[in-house]
Symmetry: C2
Subunit: 473 residues, 2 copies
Amino acid sequence: MRTVDVAIIGAGSAGIAARSEVVRVTDDYVVIDDGTLGTTCARVGCMPSKSLIQVANDFHRRAVFEEMGIAGASALAVDRGRAMAHVRRLRDAFVDAVLKDMRTWQEHLVRARAHFVDANTLAVGDDTIKAKAVVIATGSRPVMPVAWRPLSRHLLDTDSFFEADTLPDRMAVIGIGAIGTELGLALARLGVDVVAVSTNRAIAGLSSPALQELAAKLLSREMQIRYGRAMLEAGGARPLRVGIGPEAWDVDAALVAVGRRPNMAGLGLDEIGVALDEKGLPKVDPTTMRIENTSIYLAGDASGGRAIFHEAVDEGRMAGFNAARLESHCFQRSPRLAITFSDPNIAVVGRGWQSLTNDGVDFVTGQASFARQGRAVVMGESEGQIEVYVDRKSGKLLGTEMIAPRAEHLAHLLAFALSMNVTVHQFLQMPFYHPAIEEGLRTAVKDAAYKLERRIRDIEAMRCAEPPAGGTV
Amino acid sequence: MRTVDVAIIGAGSAGIAARSEVVRVTDDYVVIDDGTLGTTCARVGCMPSKSLIQVANDFHRRAVFEEMGIAGASALAVDRGRAMAHVRRLRDAFVDAVLKDMRTWQEHLVRARAHFVDANTLAVGDDTIKAKAVVIATGSRPVMPVAWRPLSRHLLDTDSFFEADTLPDRMAVIGIGAIGTELGLALARLGVDVVAVSTNRAIAGLSSPALQELAAKLLSREMQIRYGRAMLEAGGARPLRVGIGPEAWDVDAALVAVGRRPNMAGLGLDEIGVALDEKGLPKVDPTTMRIENTSIYLAGDASGGRAIFHEAVDEGRMAGFNAARLESHCFQRSPRLAITFSDPNIAVVGRGWQSLTNDGVDFVTGQASFARQGRAVVMGESEGQIEVYVDRKSGKLLGTEMIAPRAEHLAHLLAFALSMNVTVHQFLQMPFYHPAIEEGLRTAVKDAAYKLERRIRDIEAMRCAEPPAGGTV
């Protein structure tokens, strides 16, 4: 039996982040993981997906070459096998960087599976580890409906997708959340005939009906989108038949991207008396990451919150900070920042339209289109729409949803504004270069300012706090 | 003779912005302009330059195609004549948009040249216009050294550059400020053999020696850069010979980009007793845009300040606001935001290294490289460096200089931070998506935070204001 201050279960992004805080307090810790090392993000998530998207978007740009005076675009051809090999080369480098860093603390790594005996005791392989505090950072895995398991030869999820030697000619993408939207569009741009199927219209997490409609319209130029429940069966003209209502598509394979599920089963939390909800998840305070009345902390995808890398890192650090001190300090959570790297990008920051509407918040919506936006026209990417949500009385920014060129950067700007809790008038005091995509965001914020209960023109907000120094003429 | 409330001299970006404020107070105004309409930005500045850069950068991307699995890059060829035609097509659309808007107030436009008779009287062509207030918004023009006028057949400036039917094979670019850097690199990427000459090392306005050196290194891969005074003469193997010290280049033409000069001569300000400085410019209060003790206001490039579109618009609005009221209200000026659309982008925001150093400010420099930055690697653009300048005692952000991928967006984020007057710790509370270029900026800010007199770890800055709710475990 071994005794430590902190045991971290899971050596992914959240676990590694937890460790980075624990080591500032104690060197007496273990990180327990029996799975593939290298983090979900680097192995099968953010990094390989962005790498494939980059190839797809670079190839796609050839559509504007002729108009610009660049000849020869028709001679360009993408070799999907070589593109996938390129993605794996980059991925391997990112994974290697993670592994290299882990080697600096490898004597703390236990390669086994952990199971709770009591709140401070873990059965770890054949060993037992007693810990003053435990951080659960076991991550998540792609959901694969049980009914489809017999078809698994023809199904890919993000765990298997990036291992594919090449990509077939016809594919279905089941689910149009961030992952389905990103990879579906990338596949289409790489020449795969794609049909995407979703039971709902929340493309890439958009909740605004107008933006859902625009996203569907823009994506539909490059792939087919169908709403309904996908019925999968083997056979037909190709290995897999995908039925949606009366329609059917024969495809070579389907990418199943219907969500991720926390890796919580098998830990034995229920056996030691921790109450679990209907999803099998314990109740955790999102500002401390502590499971109520225990010395157990939860972090990352395992917590069932927003399964996004930077949230996993934040939660890991909070959990590690508190676990190492056996305390439950409260931390401010960042505003939601969700980016889908489609083209145009789709982003949701802070509170979305549906949530504000459901809660009866009194808000105005500032809108802007990129149809005639200068920089977007120059880039040949003049499609997109921003909605900015602003509290009608206070003028405070509440959130945004957008599908827009380079929305990833606009999203960061808005996220900072939200973290500073500013009004639209404070926001409009910043300079905007011309021509910049950021000017489109300004247009939306100005539109919101115009709709507020108390209207202040932006130039009035620029007035000095002091009375005019020069007096009247 | 005609009498009006406000006469605006110049129908460019600053004059149009001034008008937009004047019409909120009075409809009794004129805008006087005898030159080509459509604004410097749309005709010969921001818009056509960004259009050419877009073509150049799209063509340049072919260098990464092979590695990504995209074949056929060697078949791509740019037709520089067609590229220039594309640029003019876009430019014409932008100019048309300006002209269309101007038609809504064309009865206020006087197509003649104005000359001051006294502070409230203008000779305008054969007419005389009396105005309670005058806004001077006469813009600027490219500097062309007198000694080079005999060579004018072989010289281009930004006024003539975009009219060129095509671009020759070998060109010199004189001056490596924003314009010289942008167009020099674009020309090189379009296959022109470029030598750039500068009397100083402040490439694109960078003042940090380390960043000047990096910028020179990166740009030198695509064009030659020489420091010294360019000596131009006709003849040699090509129409123009450019000498720098002992070296000489034979080129087809030279783009002269050694700065812009306010259009102030000929207005007669000196004749009516307004004191002019050694550059021939009147003294203007930058927070009111009023010329001291007069009812004359100055705005845009004519004011001799930062010749940047958004500054011209700000100044135009301030001048128009005050002129229409015959007052001198004070306005807060935005932090400096200067972006050069080279690749990587170069940006200077707020205070630069040299200015802080000269003034003896006690500051620390946070640094970050993009050499191994995840997203930059995925984009195949992993070169660049950020310097963030922070007040050592207060931790307040002071400014940044950078040469970095997508620095235009990082610059906007920093500009907002500066306009909010935040500390590095406030800045670090915002969420950063992964993988995003913005993470590189965070690295630089974290590095600065680590060097401050009073160090606060970012996680400490995330602590709730309230004491921990849950107490200790």
